[in-house]
């Protein structure tokens, strides 16, 4: 039984990491396609039909690029930086419930790596580590632009993470649990958290943009001012890791948003259809991924719409707007919970 359990988790883990990589890969293509379409172009379409081999070509190119490490760089930290970035991007997905449990040969398999009872804390811990990848890489490069990028990333993190935590606390108040499985379970039917606290979703969405270092908050790599920010000195696959982890972060952030606010794998009407549990689980997985892809498209859509925020504007937004809004949302949620009667 123990062996079976290990095997099950191993397979699940490999599948989740593989899917994360695959989606990260194709998110780069999707980004370029969306960019093209929004700018009245077609985007890459030379490698395979609709350019589907483009990410493979890009990856192959990065592998064969010369790898340079600046002479004055701290070699250990320089190599460690992209690893931290990629690692933290991947570990967050461990607590996300990908679907209802499926039953294979009388054996129930939970589609979640670990149902931590402090999953939200775990997510925030992992997310906070993510900025170390950028800081370490930027500092180790021994380049003023890299250092400024790293500095920006860390001060950016300080100003948005509080608001993000506050909006997540409101979710916890509604579901009365820190476990993501319970949070999703509490959103069955039409009890999606976004419908109860749209403000909380808005705050979380904006902070998620900052979290992923995505436009309009990509101050850490701000190519107009900082060359390429924290990864100025990086080349070859180490650069690839940084760029790639951004897309995996985007995927995991979208999955988190879908789980916390959009009902995760829940779809309001499927329970009344009387389908088998395995089919229901499959529909749940598809529903979750559709939600994730819509959010990822939104990430890209925003990127090609908004200009970058200035450094001080981000601080203003984080401290003076998002933080108060998150508190207002918390009070609102407290009111809702009080009206409902305590769980």
């Amino acid at each position: 039984m123990d062996i079976l359990f290990l095997l099950e988790k191993l397979i699940l883990g490999v599948v989740i990491v593989a899917v994360s990589f695959l989606i990260g890969m194709y998110a780069t293509l999707a980004e370029r396609k969306v960019a093209g379409f929004i700018q009245d172009r077609l985007g890459p379409n030379r490698n395979g039909p609709f350019g589907i081999l483009q990410p493979v070509a890009d990856g192959g190119k990065l592998f064969f690029k010369e790898e340079t490490i600046p002479a004055e760089a701290n070699r250990f930290l320089f190599v460690l930086g992209p690893g931290i970035s990629m690692g933290t991007a991947l570990i967050t997905s461990a607590v996300i419930p990908w679907g209802r449990p499926i039953t294979i040969a009388g054996h129930m398999i939970a589609l979640q790596m670990a149902d931590l009872n402090v999953a939200i804390l775990y997510v925030f811990a992992a997310v906070s580590l993510g900025v170390y990848g950028i800081m370490v890489g930027g500092w180790a490069s021994n380049n003023k632009y890299s250092l400024m990028g790293a500095l920006r990333a860390s001060s950016q993190m300080i100003s948005y993470e509080l608001a993000m935590g506050m909006s997540a606390i409101a979710v916890v108040m509604l579901s009365n649990s820190l476990s993501l499985k319970d949070i999703v379970a509490a959103q069955s039917g039409w009890h999606w958290n976004i419908l109860i606290e749209p403000l909380g979703f808005l705050v979380f969405l904006v902070t998620a943009f900052a979290e992923c270092n995505r436009h309009p908050f990509d101050l850490a790599e701000c190519e107009a001012e900082l060359v390429a920010g924290y990864h100025t000195e990086y080349s070859s696959m180490k650069l690839g890791f940084y760029l790639f982890s951004e897309y995996i972060n985007m995927f995991v952030s979208s999955a988190m948003m879908a789980t916390l606010f959009l009902g995760g794998y829940q779809l309001p009407f499927v329970d009344s259809l009387g389908l088998g549990p395995n089919l229901l689980a499959l529909i749940g997985i598809v529903a979750l991924f559709v939600k994730i892809f819509i959010l990822m498209f939104f990430f890209m859509w925003i990127r090609w719409t908004l200009p970058r925020f200035r450094y001080d504007q981000l601080m203003n937004l984080g401290w003076k707007t998002l933080f108060p809004l998150a508190i207002v949302n918390m009070l609102w949620t407290a009111g809702v919970v009080a009206l409902r009667g305590f769980h």
């Binding site: 379409f37 929004i38 009245d40 379409n45 925003i302 719409t305 908004l306 707007t321």
Partner: protein, 214 residues
């Protein structure tokens, strides 16, 4: 006190305070998202070039062709008028004398052994075509393809000469004046070189042929 305005159109800039709607950005962001998504579904202006060719004028001035006559002999006599007419100095050639037995290959007793156009110099003005007394060179609506070496842009006869069967149609670029000139069969250069003539040849120029500088 204040400096007099330098122009009558100067305006005083007002530093107006932003309204609440402007300060929370959201209405502006939503309208911006509307703009970008409308572009997302708009028809794309891109031409997928090698598969999809943008229509060109029938008299487009593109890659040159060195014409053959009706019997398949090269029309060019290496007179060099095109090279003189060329404002970009893109054309060079080396003349050679036709040997007995080569009558099927070359229309007249002098021909271009080497004929090169540097496509990077060429400005596709069509002066060479205008200058040619033998109707040997024409611009076509074909494009000069991209190359990765500069030397590959120097087109020799291998690329310029039209294939023996499968003539390149240049009828649209032949003006009325050209057609009239061509129809005057009294001129030697307009004679159709036929197999029967081959026995009689090599016939010498009789001195009244224009364009022959030999």
């Amino acid at each position: 006190m204040a400096m007099p305005p330098l122009t009558s159109r100067s305006k005083t800039v007002v530093d107006k305070h932003r309204t609440f709607a402007e300060r929370i950005y959201i209405p502006a962001i939503v309208s911006g998202l509307g703009v970008t998504i409308s572009h997302f579904f708009r028809k794309k202006v891109t031409w997928r070039y090698p598969e999809e060719v943008r229509p060109r004028a029938p008299v487009y001035r593109g890659m040159h062709v060195l014409k053959r006559d009706e019997a398949g002999a090269e029309r060019c006599t290496a007179c060099g008028l095109c090279a003189i007419a060329c404002p970009a100095e893109a054309i060079t050639m080396t003349a050679a004398e036709r040997k007995p037995g080569e009558e099927r290959l070359y229309r007249e007793e002098k021909y271009a052994a080497v004929y090169e156009i540097n496509m990077l110099r060429c400005i596709f003005c069509g002066f060479c075509e205008e200058a040619c007394p033998k109707e040997a060179i024409f611009l076509t609506n074909r494009l000069v393809p991209a190359e990765d070496l500069r030397k590959n842009f120097i087109y020799g006869k291998d690329k310029l000469l039209e294939p023996a069967p499968g003539a390149v149609d240049v009828s649209l670029r032949q003006t009325g004046a050209v057609a009239k000139f061509k129809s005057e069969t009294g001129f030697d250069h307009n004679r159709v070189y036929e197999a029967a003539d081959a026995e009689r040849s090599p016939h010498a120029t009789d001195g009244r042929v224009e364009g022959s500088r030999a």
